[in-house]
């Protein structure tokens, strides 16, 4: 069975400082992992994905994530937060090609302070 843990329900950073959003997963097989962002009352937008290629994945808007199999982690980072980064972030795991088996984490709300 698959599962996703997002260790922080809420993260608050100052504008211009680094962002770290943590995600740990459980999967019986080699997983694929995704990060999505959701701004208030909007749909989810794909930030980046890991599908067994390079372990350091670069996404849109300056975000990146590193797949660490030994730690079963896929943390999302950004060197410098911008006010527009304030949103909800979801980590997703799947171990097959079937979309109905996507497992979403509970989400982390990122606040960016001026």
């Amino acid at each position: 069975a698959q599962s996703v843990t997002q260790l922080d329900s809420h993260v608050s950073v100052s504008e211009g400082t680094p962002v770290l959003l943590r995600c740990n997963y459980s999967s019986s097989y080699s997983p694929s992992l995704f990060w999505y962002v959701q701004h208030p009352n909007k749909g989810l937008q794909l930030l980046l994905k890991y599908t067994s290629a390079a372990t350091l994945v670069k996404g849109i808007n300056g975000f990146e994530a590193e797949f660490k199999k030994s730690e079963t982690s896929f943390h999302l980072t950004k060197p410098s937060a911008h006010m527009s980064d304030a949103a909800e972030y979801f980590c997703v795991v799947t171990q097959d090609n079937y979309g109905q088996n996507f497992v979403f984490g509970p989400g982390t709300r990122l606040s960016v302070l001026p």
Binding site: F34, Y36, N41, K42, G43, L44, Q45, L46, K49, T51, F90, N97, Y98, G99, Q100, F102, F104, G105, P106, G107
Partner: protein, 113 residues
């Protein structure tokens, strides 16, 4: 490029009234389609998915139903809404040929009063 549309954007309906939410995808063929619900302060719950016209799978028992009358059209319905049906409804699509990430529509905010 592919786009996904949902309407209406917001909806306020009384308890016991019917519901119809529509989702359409442009720029792709034979997509997999999904309906999710996001209750306030909670994560995403998969309600239905479809791998083809007329093929609907339900993930949770409820008073909602889904239909796929055309390849790129997905409809979420209810005959009688409950208060607990309130939430943010998201439609998504994906393809099985990699990459197979899901792409989400803008969502419909449903308030049942």
């Amino acid at each position: 490029s592919q786009t996904i549309h949902q309407w209406p954007a917001t909806l306020v309906q009384p308890v016991g009234s019917p519901l119809s939410l529509e989702c359409t995808v442009e720029g792709t063929s034979n997509p997999n389609l999904y309906w999710y619900r996001q209750a306030a302060g909670r994560g995403l719950q998969l309600l239905f998915y479809s791998v083809g016209i007329g093929q609907i799978s339900s993930e949770v028992p409820q008073n909602l139903s889904a239909s796929r009358p055309q390849d790129r059209q997905f409809i979420l319905s209810s005959k009688k809404l409950l208060l607990s049906d309130s939430g943010f409804y998201l439609c998504a699509w994906s393809v099985l040929q990699g990459p197979y990430e899901q792409y989400f529509g803008p969502g419909t905010r449903l308030t049942v009063t």
